[in-house]
């Protein structure tokens, strides 16, 4: 999945790839007006079955061409791109054709006054394709998308590294769940949602909440894994399980339900305290329609928003299994707040 760009705004290569993957696993596929992809597995109970959404965003952070500057391109960011990792990075410009380039930061003595030898600001960076200005003017438009180059890299059997694993790791887990579920009789209508624009403004979640008006919703995303640059209290170990979010964006009964389910199924997990916003689509989803009971499940990911994001495949599998067990075992009577509203805890 990391090979397919997801720019936000619809019509993305990742959408086509997910259509191919999900097509055989669901009863219906559709893309909404903003570009979010839905796959529906209909409930065996027919009309009136609750609607459950399992959601993961499919867009990735990226760059955009903002100008042609002599023989170089100037760039701007889409989403929270980390400028510190950009110098020396190989990229692809999605121009008239795919053009390879390098992100370059001129030496400090050529930068405007005030920049030091430690400064790494996007406004000083350029993309060098080796093409001359006249060739760039023919082949590149302002607004063309720029993605990181490079295939995913396996570090042993369990670890995989590459750009865009935020949030393709979650989409992989969601796809694993669909593979488990597609031949089962479900007591809910299951909507798999691959949302757009999470990294930009969560407009995908905003619109999908009203589109689907589900009875409950689970957001799958990535969280900080422990590693260089993180303190133990702000990150979670790789390969030791998933996190279940706890905080104002999360419905407390739903949290309890998932915690008990994970225990029963032997899926390793820890609580992730999210005292304010969760930083996921859940923050937006929860507030749509009449208010939606929302849960956040996260896969630890090291080096977030760099081109060498790292996940442990065991965590991805655990996340997928928890989603499939939740959906396969779903009984509306286990979750009385669905019918009654409010929360018990």
């Amino acid at each position: 999945m990391t090979a397919f760009p997801g720019f936000s705004g619809g019509d993305d290569p990742i959408t086509g790839h997910l259509r191919d993957l999900w097509g055989p696993l669901v009863d219906q596929l559709k893309v909404n007006k903003l570009g979010t992809l839905y796959g529906l597995i209909r409930s065996a109970k027919g009309e009136g079955a609750p609607d459950v959404v399992l959601s993961a965003h499919m867009d990735t952070i990226g760059l955009m061409v903002s100008g042609i500057w002599d023989d170089f391109l100037r760039i701007s960011r889409v989403g929270g791109v980390d400028s510190r990792v950009l110098p020396g990075q190989e990229v692809i410009i999605w121009g008239r054709e795919k053009i390879p380039g390098i992100i370059a930061l001129p030496p400090a003595y050529l930068l405007p006054e005030g920049a030091s030898s430690e400064t790494v600001e996007l406004q000083h960076m350029v993309i060098d394709t080796g093409l001359a200005k006249s060739q760039l003017q023919e082949q590149v438009e302002i607004g063309d998308r720029v993605t990181f180059a490079g295939e995913p890299l396996a570090l042993g059997e369990k670890l995989i590294s590459g750009p865009g694993l935020d949030n393709r790791a979650s989409l992989a887990a969601l796809t694993l769940a669909l593979e488990e579920l597609h031949q089962l009789d479900l007591a809910c209508n299951l909507w798999a949602a691959a949302t757009t624009a999470e990294e930009y403004n969560q407009s995908g979640a905003q619109v999908s909440g009203f589109d689907l008006q589900p009875d409950l919703l689970v957001v799958l995303d990535v969280t900080f894994a422990r590693g260089p640059g993180t303190a133990d209290h702000e990150a979670y170990p790789l390969g030791e399980g998933i996190t279940l979010g706890w905080g104002p964006s999360i419905h407390q009964d739903l949290y309890q339900h998932f915690a008990e389910l994970a225990e029963r199924e032997g899926i390793p997990w820890v609580m992730e305290p999210l005292p304010g916003r969760s930083g996921t689509d859940a923050d937006t989803f929860q507030l749509t329609a009449n208010g939606i009971p929302t849960m956040v499940i996260s896969i630890p990911l090291r080096y977030m928003h760099t081109p060498v994001e790292l996940v442990d495949l065991r965590d991805v599998e655990w996340a997928g299994r928890l989603l499939s067990k939740f959906t396969a075992n779903f009984r509306a009577e286990d979750l009385p707040f669905l019918a009654e509203g409010g929360m018990s805890l």
């Binding site: 990075q89 405007p112 080796g130």
Partner: protein
Amino acid sequence: MIGIGASQIDLLARLSNAAGVSGDESAVREIVLAELGSSPVKCRVDALGNLLVTQERDPEKGAPRVLVAAHLDEVGFMLTHHQGDGLFRFARVGGVDKKSILGKRVIVGREKIPGIIGCQPVHLAVGEEKTKTIPLEKLRIDVGAEATARVKVGDRAVFGTEFKQQGDILLGKAFDDRMGAATLVGLVKNPPPGIELLAAFTVQEEIGLRGAGVAARNLDPDLAVALDCTPARDFPSFDEQTENTRYNTRLGRGPAIYVADGGTISDPRLVGQLIAAAEAENLPYQIRQPGGGRTDAAAIHQQLGGIPSVSLSVPARYLHTPVSLALLSDWEAAVNLIHSGLANLQLEDIKTDR
């Protein structure tokens, strides 16, 4: 004109992709040795690892003994401490650009184990941290826990960059100085007439020109040329009122002839010979801006009784970063300039005191 064909591009690709951090040049040296295997040359590896190549046939009587040097080594890293779980502290070997290390892939050790250099997520950075590069002591090479049996402290690492060609545009790591090494291989296979060619593929250039002096004393030449790769910093100026006057060299303007850098004042006769050859052959060339930076010539010219020396470089952008960018046309002009410059040497007095 000598053209650069698919086999030379392939040689550059293999040299560029190979790992040869200063002090550990053997993988690169093996490629050069294999490439010269069928040529009528004598190859010898000295105690430092310099590869010294001389022609088997006897030189013409009185032909000047010309040392041409290119360095095999590249900047990179050495693993210095294992903190567990496949996370290694590391040190730079040579002047790797400190701002270009974060978020990159690396290849570790002779078993070529893949690794990554990540960093703190920017979400957790505070204030100015977001736009300042992270110091080396906070970074780790991450090979994953499973690889720890095959990776150890002391292993070298290089950026995991693959060579690419797009028409005239060449992208890859370590063009400094695999481009010089590839040029020198071509020169050894097709030696210019009228000289006795002494080729030195040197080691440890990037950590202070430590191989070239020994090579020069072993070969005892009359004159020397260092073939290298030099930065093109030909960005436009951010301030539209001014011009970038500190570009060092410019891409696409041909090979750079050195008049003076941070370590050598080139022999003016040799500078003149190269310029004359370029003019005669209608080859593009540029004079490298005098200033800092050094080549193997800085070590060579001070050996023995003094060895008149000059340097000739292919201009390339982003040396000492994960990926450099050079033009095939600049390289081709360099190949032709060194060949015709040496084939047409007019230096009656070069062997004597002036």
